[in-house]
């Protein structure tokens, strides 16, 4: 079933990408075309086929030692804050997380 602009507005909200009315129309057309491109995936009989999530099958998590790493990988505070749009003291500054009584969308 084709996606409607309302469906796509919901996805945009979830993806945190604000789209205006014209962008919503274009994105709806794109997504419907793109999903058709994916149809070969649904045409397979895949019962009993294991998924491959990753090309290196036996990969396991690499665990670091639980100690403070003050070496090259520890990002100094000034570096960590250097590219932020708004900072205050040692912190990233953000607008209200809950909004002005309207709740987080």
């Amino acid at each position: 079933m084709a996606l409607s602009t309302e469906d796509v507005a919901g996805i945009a909200d979830y993806a945190r990408i604000a789209l205006d009315a014209q962008e919503l129309e274009e994105m709806t057309a794109y997504l419907n075309d793109a999903v058709r491109l994916l149809e070969p995936i649904r045409a397979y009989g895949l019962k009993g086929v294991d998924p491959t999530y990753h090309p290196i099958g036996d990969l396991s998590n690499v665990m670091g030692r639980d100690v403070v790493d003050a070496s090259e990988r520890a990002l100094p505070l000034d570096d960590a804050l250097r590219n932020a749009g708004s900072v205050e003291g040692r912190y990233f500054r953000v607008p209200s997380i809950l909004g002005d009584g309207e709740g987080d969308r």
């Binding site: 996805i11 993806a15 998924p51 990969l59 090259e72 607008p95 909004g99």
Partner: protein
């Protein structure tokens, strides 16, 4: 007087070590080539002259102190702009990261510099690597050095064009679905996508985490082999959990004979719609060239490769959506001013920071990962991935490498492919080796009979047999050289050659 256009990496490194010229002089020659050629080609987003001269100066000082120099001593090198290098911006060719200053250096970049390479520039790309033409760069398009009216391919189009134009001798790109091999093909240079896990991705901005791999571009197979030795030589990178320990023996096996080895060909792939006659013929000549050097040819089958594009456009957008969620306008990246809530700030920062294709891919990923849809597409795509991987395993039981096209056609004009889905189809020959994780290389075969533009062949090998891939690539290069080529790998594009670059 020498020209940078004529020198291989090994010749540059030997010349610097012998004192025939200094690393600073080589860097200046590269800067003069960039100055003369870049206004037409526009392969670069940032020329790092100060960094380059400082690095080259340090190389010359090491020589003056009598220290041994690295195998890439003085080699002018460009890095795709999704690779962090302290002292440069890392923008991914996106407004989202315009002005972002690198706060650390990617392992792949550091290893090239440690081997002596001189960092000349950051190269243009499709925004966040979403594209096959470098037209989605937020800053400017890049022209194909062989025909300025045409695209260089993508997403690593700047890295390929900078080498084809002779602005630099080596470059690094990244390949998620063909982003090294397709631009290498369109620009007439060698481009290797190593096996997944061979090269560290630490410090490279992520696109598709189960697909991304970093690799080199050069005008000669030997240059690419030297770069690979530099990238894998120091061993696995503890900063990247996908990084594997591999032998740095690319150069030493380069001239091995291919006599008695077996090349697989896939007949159904040569009948694919959209494959042009001149590319089909070029791949046929490549087959004859390998047979002429004693290789056997067998037909193999990759029945599920036809579904690679569908599987890829499920897996890659999902991984991209997940990876690009970090761009929320808080810690880095474009931040929309004057927003009352964090949600509004995130949504508007992402809406105004990302370009159209970056938004499309993330929206597709968000949809495919949503409840109910995941089971219809994402999970089956990963099962199809298993089938594609099994196809390769069966094929490589019967052959050492598979020969096929890299790109279905030569370079296209700006704006010629405007439908995103048609653009996706241009990766039809490259995507499957990202899905399976095996290595693949695009090797230039001279100019196509019909368009007069660079054509190439692609060689794909089993995972972690990349060394053998380069042995076969070198065999093809030998044949091209013997058949009227310059005898020293792919040339600098004629419109660029000889303009600046004197040493």
């Amino acid at each position: 007087m020498a020209s940078l256009d004529e020198l291989s990496c090994a010749q540059i490194a030997r010349g610097v070590a012998a004192g025939d010229f200094s690393a600073v002089e080589v860097a200046q020659a590269s800067l003069s080539a960039i100055e003369a050629r870049e206004p037409a080609v526009r392969a670069l987003l940032q020329v790092t002259a100060e960094l380059a001269l400082a690095a080259a100066g340090a190389t010359d000082e090491r020589r003056a102190r009598g220290e041994a120099l690295g195998p890439l001593a003085g080699v002018p090198t460009a890095f795709k702009d999704n690779m962090h290098l302290v002292g440069t911006r890392t923008t991914c060719a996106s407004r989202m990261l315009e002005g972002y200053e690198s706060v650390f250096t990617a392992s792949c970049v550091q290893r090239m510099i440690d081997a002596g390479a001189t960092p000349m520039a950051k190269a243009n790309m499709d925004e966040f690597a979403f594209g096959s033409s470098t037209e989605t760069s937020a800053f400017h398009p890049t022209a194909n050095p062989w025909d300025l009216e045409r695209v260089p391919g993508g997403s690593s189009g700047g890295s390929a064009a900078a080498v084809a134009a002779g602005e630099v001798t080596l470059s690094l790109g990244s390949d998620t679905g063909g982003s090294i091999r397709q631009p290498a093909s369109l620009c007439g240079v060698v481009g290797l996508k190593p096996s997944y896990g061979l090269v560290s991705r630490y410090g490279v901005v992520a696109f598709g985490s189960s697909l991304d791999q970093v690799g080199p571009f050069g005008r000669r197979v030997e240059d690419v082999a030297l770069a690979m030795d530099a990238l894998v030589g120091p061993g696995r990178d503890p900063f990247d959990s996908t990084s594997q320990d591999c032998r740095a023996d690319f150069l030493e096996s380069l001239e091995d004979s291919i006599e008695g080895m077996t090349v697989g060909v896939v007949p159904e792939l040569l009948e694919v719609k959209g494959l042009t006659d001149e590319v089909r013929q070029a791949v046929g000549r490549a087959r004859s060239a390998l047979e002429g050097q004693g290789a056997n040819v067998v037909e193999v089958s990759l029945p599920n490769i036809a579904s690679s594009i569908a599987a890829y456009y499920v897996i890659a957008p999902c991984e991209a959506f997940s990876n690009l969620a970090r761009f929320d306008g808080v810690r880095y990246g474009y931040q929309e001013p004057g927003c009352a809530t964090l949600a509004e700030q995130s949504s508007l920062s992402r809406a105004h920071g990302f370009g159209e294709e970056a938004k499309r891919r993330q929206m597709l990923g968000a949809y495919l990962l949503s409840s109910g849809v995941y089971d219809q597409y994402y999970y089956p795509a990963q099962q199809v991935r298993t089938l594609i991987t099994q196809d390769y395993a069966r094929a490589f039981a019967r052959c050492d490498v598979i020969l096929m096209p890299a790109s279905p056609r030569t370079a296209f004009r700006f704006g010629e492919i405007s439908d995103p889905l048609q653009m996706y189809a241009s990766d039809m020959f490259t995507i499957s080796s990202n899905i399976a994780g095996n290595g693949a290389v695009s090797v230039p075969l001279g100019l196509g009979r019909d368009t007069g533009l660079p054509v190439s062949a692609q060689l794909q090998g089993p995972a972690f047999e990349d060394r053998r891939l380069l042995t076969f690539a070198r065999a093809l290069e030998r044949a091209v050289d013997a058949g009227g080529g310059l005898g020293k790998g792919a040339p600098v594009a004629p419109g660029c050659a000889g303009r600046g670059g004197e040493l």
